[in-house]
Amino acid sequence: MPTLEAYTLTSALGRGLRATLSALQERRSGLRPCDFEDADLPTWIGRVEGVEDVRLPDALQAYACRNNQLAWLGLQQDDFIEAVQAARRRFGARRIGVFIGTTTSGIREAETAYRHRDPHSGVLPDTFRYRTTHNGFSCTDFVRQTLGLRGPAQAVLTACSSSAKAFAVAQRFMQMNLCDAAVVGGVDSLCLTTLYGFHALQLLSSQPCRPWDAWRDGLSIGEAAGFALLYRNPSQHTAIRLLGYGESLDAHHITSPHPQGAGAVLAMQRALQSAGLTPQDIDFISLHGTATPANDAIEDQAVHRLFGDRPPCASTKGWTGHTLGAAGIAAVVLACLGLEQGLLPGTLNTREVDPALRVALQLENRPDTPRRVLVNAFGFGGNNCSLLLGKPAC
């Protein structure tokens, strides 16, 4: 299984790991009342400051859109580009894959173009660039161009499990000997489609989202760009390792999870199995925890069935919001901070834990240095992915 040689996260908590860590230490949520453009919705969002001001280099101007600007901002942090350059020198550009998850890519550009349609012909403005902004592959292509990589690539588009599955995809490509390293991650940015779509589904909370709370009433949408550089063979002995991964389908309903969380259980079981570990080996669980009444209740059942009420669990959504296609990588990076910095974020905003839920939910941050962490990312269409991360010598 590959190692995480470098990783970074830019979210509503801040740009890069240092800003993220300070927000965690100060218990500062990234959520704010919705102020995204002219969206008029009674909800809270996790918006990243200054994305609209990012200017891409001239050679990459065709890719300019909120999503790729957020990706660019994310790539600039934590010497990530330098780490990729070192990998390129070591393996060659053709041996490094790029696998990026997203849900809406740069469709904000299409939303704007529709607003500026010719009133008679309905034609979109000429300035609209479909391939390099709207299309789902745009961000993967942008990251690949920015980093000068020439290996295998694909956009992973399985909704909220996308950037967790990007790790599984990278592992498969390494196992097929199609790459020695890979840049994986997720980039999802705010857009009206997502905000009004979730509003139409009546899934948005009117407050900062409160995972596992007795009064939880829905999710807060966020945006984030997170990346990890994976090596097939570790360069450093100390690097965090992907110990295992598990993927599954609920095969139950297009939007509602399986009532007993069968798909979630399968994903977690497969992750344990692929790592050769048992539930007793897991020190901490980063829940998908979106804070909708149904999703949390079902994830609670599934986690409890496998792990009981022993391992501490927490959801990151109160900090960053639900960053959809970037949710997996956001949770992975926060878990890595736990593994390396000894700070595991608790569940923010939650005041009164739902007495009907049974896992060992942590509200406070934990100064622990766990050895093995399970990260859940469950998505639309019943598409589930669980990742197991750990320190070497486990």
Binding site: V123, R150, T158, V169, E247
Partner: protein, 265 residues
């Protein structure tokens, strides 16, 4: 070398209504005629009340999936899956973008669901009851090759059968100008780690650089190939239909191609 066995094919495009029906056209024994496709793709995987909520794109994917699965006669619930599509369901997105220009932005919850890239995979799983891993992906015009590689990845790591479905449908007019997909096209390949009862030969994959992409001689088929990212699979289908060992080079990324060798049984 990356290898797998081929156990079933499903195919739908104008003038190509099913794998068995299309073989003679693909090998050149019959003339290719771009006959229009039915407005509603027929499929019997999903119950009528569920199908009602879906779109043309979703039904088309189910139709080719059903054909490939029937051909292979394997338990559908045992399949992992890959859904490769360049642009997702542009008709659902078009309706959302229109709604967003109206007062109060009345986005339909059902259209929002259908617009998600992995909606076809979700419906397919409900129909087949497969709980196995499923990846939905895009690599723009190289989405078919990307799908084939991801399918091989799942097959290699899981050692189980994988259903690959590659599809794209022309977007509605405002988007079509910017993404002129010529015609609907969907193909399903059922890939197995070991030869199945219905064995259509072996496929061997390798990345390639600096070679010429395979093209088709027949003008109409070549137009279809160039006009839909999923139809980039046609040269491969042609050599499978011919049944003699051969190799094709398919587009993948702007700087990388995929070489696929077909070895008949």
């Amino acid at each position: 070398m990356l290898s797998c066995h081929l156990a079933g094919i499903g195919l739908r495009a104008p003038g190509l209504s099913g794998w068995a029906e299309s073989r003679a056209v693909l090998v050149g024994h019959e003339t290719y005629r771009e006959t229009a496709m039915p407005a509603v793709p027929e499929q019997s995987l999903l119950a009528r009340n569920t199908v009602r909520r879906t779109t043309y794109t979703i039904r088309l994917t189910l139709q080719v999936a059903e054909e490939a699965m029937n051909a292979a006669a394997m338990p559908n619930a045992e399949l992992a899956s890959v859904f490769a599509c360049s642009g997702g369901d542009a008709s659902a997105l078009d309706q959302i973008f229109n709604a967003l220009t109206l007062p109060d932005r009345p986005v339909s919850p059902n259209q929002f669901n259908n617009s998600v890239h992995n909606a076809p995979a979700g419906y397919w799983s409900i129909a087949t009851q497969s709980h196995h891993p499923s990846t939905s992906l895009s690599a723009y015009d190289g989405s078919f090759s990307a799908g084939l590689l991801e399918a091989l990845g799942l097959l290699t790591t899981l050692r189980q059968a994988v259903l690959l479905i590659a599809y794209d449908v022309p977007p509605p007019p405002p988007l079509w100008v910017h993404r002129p997909i010529a015609a609907p096209y969907a193909v399903a390949l059922l890939l197995t780690p070991k030869p199945a009862a219905t064995h259509l030969g072996r496929l061997h994959l390798a990345l390639a650089h600096g070679q010429a992409e395979s093209r088709l001689e027949e003008v109409g088929l070549e137009r279809l190939r160039g006009g839909n990212p999923a139809a980039r699979s046609l040269p491969l289908l042609q050599i499978i239909a011919r049944g003699r060992e051969n190799r094709v080079v398919l587009p993948y990324l702007t700087d990388t191609l995929l070489s696929v060798r077909h070895q008949p049984c």
